[in-house]
């Protein structure tokens, strides 16, 4: 009998206990950033070491893990993290949102509504929503303690003065259970309404900044706004070229060297599920009308994996620079 070279889910038990205690305090104080002693992980910071540590502390042998990177299950980053836990925790992995018990995510919330019992783990680069207004940690801590959030409103109002609307489209600040202002991580503000009263537990891990925070299930999450300028959900107006969805968050991808572009769902699992549901059964589809826009898109899809993958690898590079 030989012992494995690492502990279950990689982290040692003492580290897991420390993270677990932080997670419990984070759940008890929704939206408050709990400091924790972040550990070195066998991957660079841009790869979501905060999220990986939270997942490692939470995951058990019966979990089914999904990992997404800007909505996609197939980026190098997402694939590596999935493999990491398949190897160190022996867990089953999936790309299907519905089947997953833990979903680790970077910068998106799945389009498929989450359910009770699921845990959504966010990889967070900068957890402090007030950081760009006030660089000093002691000061931002004080501002949270005193619920001094006026500066945040001033910043949003300056947006309105300058652009005629609130120009912040990513990491749009929210207030959790009427108390703490929280950074939802660099998700598009399109995803903000999904956080409100979400049946799943939402955990946020910032590795470099050493913070864990949480939104318990069924908790009020309100995007900051003004009476005259209410929060508006934004998506690129358009239709997914692959599945025809008109209500999903879209990514623009480069399709060829001549600069051809198209818009597709950023949530690859959602898009593929829709395409599978709408495509005619094998052989039965022949000679049945066709000619619709959706049909044309499906015909186009076999040639897409290569360009779409390249588009995503470019995103990976960008992400590595920014996180």
């Amino acid at each position: 009998m030989s012992l494995p070279a690492y502990n279950f889910a990689y982290l040692d038990e003492q580290t897991k206990r420390m993270i677990r205690r932080a997670v419990l305090k984070a759940i008890a104080i929704p939206g408050y950033q709990v400091p924790f002693a972040s550990r070195e992980m066998p991957m660079p910071y841009g790869w979501g070491t905060g999220g990986v540590q939270v997942t490692a502390a939470v995951i058990g042998p019966d979990d089914v893990l999904k990992v997404i990177d800007q909505g996609a299950d197939d980026t190098t980053n997402a694939v590596s993290i999935r493999k990491f836990f398949a190897k160190t925790a022996g867990v089953k992995t999936t790309t299907a949102t519905r089947e997953a018990t833990i979903i680790q995510t970077r910068h998106r919330i799945p389009e498929t509504p989450l359910h009770v019992g699921q845990v959504l783990v966010y990889q967070v680069p900068i957890p402090e929503p007030l950081r760009f207004l006030e660089p000093r940690e002691t000061e931002t801590r004080r501002m949270h303690a005193l619920t001094e959030y006026g500066l945040m409103h001033v910043k949003l109002y300056e947006d309105i003065a300058r652009h005629g609307h609130i120009a912040t489209t990513y990491a749009y600040p929210v207030k959790v259970d009427g108390r703490y202002v929280m950074d939802p991580s660099p998700t598009p503000k399109f995803d903000n309404p999904k956080m409100d009263q979400c049946p799943a537990l939402q955990l946020f891990g910032a590795g470099r900044e050493k913070r864990i925070y949480a939104i318990p299930p069924y908790t009020s999450v309100v995007s900051l706004d003004f009476e005259d300028f209410p929060f508006e959900r934004y998506r690129h107006p358009g239709t997914c070229a692959l599945c025809g969805a008109t209500d999903t968050f879209l990514d623009e991808i480069v399709t060829d060297d001549a600069g051809g572009r198209m818009f597709v769902c950023s949530d690859t699992d959602y898009c593929e599920t829709r395409r599978a549901a709408h495509s005619p059964p094998p052989l039965a589809g022949e000679g049945q009308g066709g000619g619709s826009a959706a049909g044309a898109a499906q015909e186009a899809s076999p040639s897409l994996p290569l360009p779409s993958k390249r588009g995503r690898e470019e995103q990976d590079l960008k992400a590595a620079e920014h996180d």
């Binding site: 420390m18 759940i27 069924y218």
Partner: protein, 198 residues
């Protein structure tokens, strides 16, 4: 040692106990049953013992109530299994373990956290006989889609009043894990509590 061989992998056992507590903390008042092979000397019950093993270590000073502090075998077990230092000062504890809830000190005897660091507060691990009996409470707040009933016994007669005070301190306050022989439920500081009859 007899029994050692059938013991589950401690890493897996700890994860299971933690996950039950995390689910309980995420859904206040929901009772989570879980199987454990952890056994502590009297008077601590198995679920409370499993939670202690999953969460306590040398970094977490632990305060013990009268019946636990007066049980040398238990104190030896706790030190050996968790490495947690046992402290006499209640307000220095990260965890307080309470075997006799009727005699539990006021929440204000413990660390309630500061306004800047509300997480630096105690977690009370309270052993109860059973859930679903005792004074009925109505819980609402984060983790609850709609208000739900909850009860556990034994608890102090003024327990609901204490929880009101605790909620009024938010974001400071104590978090409570209740443990029967084979189940846990939690009352995080975020929970709003009413007497069922109110």
């Amino acid at each position: 040692m007899p029994g050692q061989a059938i013991r589950l992998d401690p890493a897996i056992a700890s994860q299971a106990a933690f996950r039950a507590v995390m689910d309980a903390m995420s859904h206040p008042g929901e009772v989570r049953t879980f199987a454990t092979t952890v056994r502590a000397p009297a008077p601590l019950n198995p679920a409370a013992a499993a939670v202690a093993c999953a969460l306590m270590d040398f970094e977490t000073p632990v305060w013990l109530d009268g019946p636990l502090a007066a049980a040398p075998e238990f104190v030896t077990w706790l030190r050996f299994e968790t490495g947690a230092p046992v402290v006499a000062a209640a307000d220095a504890a990260t965890f307080a373990v309470i075997a006799d809830p009727l005699a539990m000190p006021s929440f204000s005897a413990f660390a309630l956290g500061s306004h800047d660091y509300p997480d630096r507060s105690v977690t009370l691990l309270v052993q109860v006989e059973r859930f679903g009996e005792g004074e009925p409470m109505r819980l609402s707040g984060p983790g609850l889609a709609r208000p739900r009933g909850f009860s556990a016994t034994p608890l102090p007669a003024d327990f609901i009043a204490r929880l009101h005070v605790n909620r009024a301190l938010f974001p400071r306050g104590v978090d409570i894990i209740l443990a029967s022989d084979d189940a846990v439920a939690a009352l995080p500081r975020s929970v709003r509590v009413k007497r069922e009859s109110d």
